[in-house]
């Protein structure tokens, strides 16, 4: 097991290193001088220029430049934003929790709604039901998320006046960030505002979270359904049936835990597309997360923001992928054997 974990850690470090190289290469492609692209100070004074040159070893060869770059980035120094002049790390601290909040809630919706539907669907062998499920999940998979976001906002926000369609909370509430998750923080701020801030935050998150949950929801339904069908035909289930166990008990205790393993695995595969979707959802609903921040950075040619955003998102995905991999093999020892053989 230790050997396996070391291998995973090794993979994480190697992949991150390659990604850093790619990003380092990209900084030299931006149409500004490397000093500006790396530090984010647009018109450095001679003394600042000297500090930047030293910090990033701009006068020495490319390898020591890269090492200096890695040192800076890993110590959390991403330079300052070209537009706001605030440190990038500080801005990331503001926008990252908002993205997490949206992603976690969307993921929860997908799991809580998707798994029961998938299980129920696996029992229905009626041709019609199967076709309906295939059709709806494929449609959900094919929806351009920015478009469906707009449509939902139009129907439920404007026409029905039910839900706010933009932003995270009514900005008159001044919520002190404690956990960074606004839904929780607004609850903590109930001394000041009562519950109204919490309801407001909750109302704001519904539409973006539902929109973002469409993709994982369809995937979860599909995978749960096929995994359930697969598991239910196994002999140990039949053995359990033969022993006269209650069907509900069989499903929850015997079948579901095994059926959920591929669902879990699929979550890792889905991370990349999910992140792409999250960016589009954040832009459509003006949700102040990493995606919205990154896209604004591109509009404003804020090169330090672009680097910081891509770095953090990619690093998170690498990390989560490996984490899911590790957890997956912990709960499912069979896979470990395969993983030794290849990388």
């Amino acid at each position: 097991m230790t050997w396996y974990l070391v291998r995973r850690l090794n993979l994480f470090i190697a992949t991150s290193c390659v990604m850093l190289m790619v990003l380092f290469y990209v900084t030299h492609l931006f149409p500004v001088s490397p000093a500006v692209a790396l530090s984010g100070i647009a018109d450095p004074s001679p003394s600042q220029q000297q500090v930047i040159t030293q910090a990033y070893s701009l006068n020495s060869n490319i390898i020591s430049q890269f090492i200096a770059y890695v040192q800076n980035r890993l110590s959390g120094d991403f330079g300052v934003s070209l537009t706001s002049h605030h440190p990038i790390s500080q801005e990331l601290f503001v926008v990252l929790p908002a993205s997490f909040e949206l992603a976690v809630i969307a993921g929860l919706i997908a799991l809580v709604v998707g798994i029961p539907i998938g299980v129920l669907a696996s029992f229905n062998h009626h041709k019609m039901t199967q076709n309906v499920i295939v059709a709806t999940t494929l449609t959900g998979y094919s929806l351009p998320v920015f478009w469906i976001g707009l449509m939902l906002a139009h129907w439920f926000g404007i026409q029905q006046d039910w839900l706010p369609v933009s932003g995270q909370i009514n900005l008159l509430y001044e919520i002190k960030p404690v956990t960074g998750f606004l839904v929780i923080d607004s609850l903590l701020a109930s001394k000041q505002y009562g519950m109204s801030a919490f309801y407001d935050a909750l109302q704001h998150i519904i539409l973006p979270a539902v929109t973002l949950s469409i993709l994982p929801l369809t995937v979860v339904i599909r995978i749960t359904r096929s995994a359930m069908q697969n598991v239910m035909s196994q002999t140990y289930i039949r053995a359990a049936e033969a022993r006269g166990l209650h069907t509900g008990q069989i499903i929850i205790k015997h079948a579901l835990p095994n059926a959920l393993i591929p669902v879990f695995k699929q979550l890792g595969v889905m991370l990349g597309p999910f992140a792409s979707y999250a960016i589009l959802v954040e832009v459509s609903f003006a949700w102040p997360g990493v995606g919205y921040w990154l896209v604004s950075g591109i509009y404003q040619r804020d090169y330090t923001v672009i680097q910081g955003g891509v770095f953090v998102v990619a690093l998170l995905i690498i990390f989560l992928n490996i984490l899911i991999d590790v957890i997956h093999s912990l709960v499912n020892p069979i896979t470990k054997k395969e993983l030794y053989g290849q990388n």
């Binding site: 449509m151 960016i279 090169y303 672009i306 990619a314």
Partner: protein, 296 residues
């Protein structure tokens, strides 16, 4: 000499035919295939079908609703946008950009990905491992972010979208082909062929490749739907096709400005994207299930 048939023996269908039979027994997949044919037809002849040029502005017909609305007219079947441009014509012309471009991008990415994937797949040891890490790193950047990174370097515009989406797709092809070849290489029939004295090239082309084509085909359909969605998403973010272009994502973006007054300027191009991606996914899904019994 005529063969005497004692038993009623059906001709054993070839693998291709078997796949087709499995595929065509799936009504959804057939619908998708027909939709794809229509799309290709529209892409090739859309300019002839369109009643108006895509950028023709008619100041007398601003924001006309679609024909099924009470105040709509048949001349502008899908209505007009805020500059009085015919939406039907724009959607037809947009097929070129959104669907046509994604076809070209996928073909280009396939060729490059295929070459790189084959090379790396046949390699082993440290070189293969380094390449694997490089691919893992590139794949960990979501395709949209990678495309955005390219746009940030090159600037917005449809011609840069080609590079952006292409660069995002290549690693996926390389990875899929690399893994498929690697998997096949470890199987026993390859060892058997090697023992028969086949060299690497022969093994690659005659032994492994016939079993990798399935993966390639499935990967193409996946890449195609990703390409359409990414091109449209970049257009929507105003990082891809620029303002007057009838690219579907850009049309949605332009429509959002008047969404409350003229929802059809957003709905119609959005439905066009949905139908295209759905058709691709239906075909892809059909192919996957048609091919899967052979693979397992």
């Amino acid at each position: 000499m005529a063969r005497i048939r004692i038993y009623q023996d059906d001709a054993i269908p070839s693998p291709t035919k078997r796949t087709w039979m499995a595929f065509s027994s799936n009504p959804f997949a057939l619908i998708g295939l027909w939709l794809l044919f229509v799309l290709v037809f529209v892409m090739l002849f859309g300019e002839l079908l369109a009643p108006f040029p895509p950028e023709l502005q008619d100041p007398n017909a601003l924001l006309l609703p679609p024909s099924w609305d009470q105040s709509g007219t048949v001349t502008h079947f899908f209505g007009t946008d805020e500059l009085g441009r015919d939406i039907l014509s724009r959607v037809l012309h947009g097929t070129h950009l959104t669907f046509g471009l994604s076809l070209i991008v996928v073909v280009a990415a396939l060729i490059i990905g295929f070459l790189l994937g084959s090379l790396s797949g046949m390699m082993s040891g440290i070189k293969s491992s380094i390449l694997g890490h490089l691919l893992d790193a590139l794949l960990s950047i979501p395709s949209l972010i990678l495309a955005m990174l390219v746009v940030a370097v090159l600037g917005a515009g449809l011609e840069n979208v080609f590079w952006a989406v292409g660069l995002a797709l290549v690693p996926q092809f390389v990875r899929a082909i690399h893994q498929a070849i690697h998997e096949e290489l470890q199987k026993e029939y390859v060892t058997a062929a090697r023992l028969d004295g086949a060299n690497s090239l022969q093994i690659y082309w005659y032994v492994i490749m016939p079993n990798v084509w399935d993966i390639v085909i499935i990967q193409v359909t996946l890449a195609l739907s990703v390409a359409v969605l990414d091109i449209a998403a970049l257009g929507f973010l105003n990082l891809g096709a620029q303002a007057p272009s009838p690219e579907w994502g850009a049309m949605v973006m332009q429509g959002t400005e008047h969404f409350l007054i003229a929802p059809w300027t957003v709905t119609i191009p959005g439905v066009a994207i949905l139908i295209t991606v759905l058709a691709i996914n239906l075909v892809g899904d059909g192919l996957r299930s048609a091919l899967s019994p052979q693979r397992n």
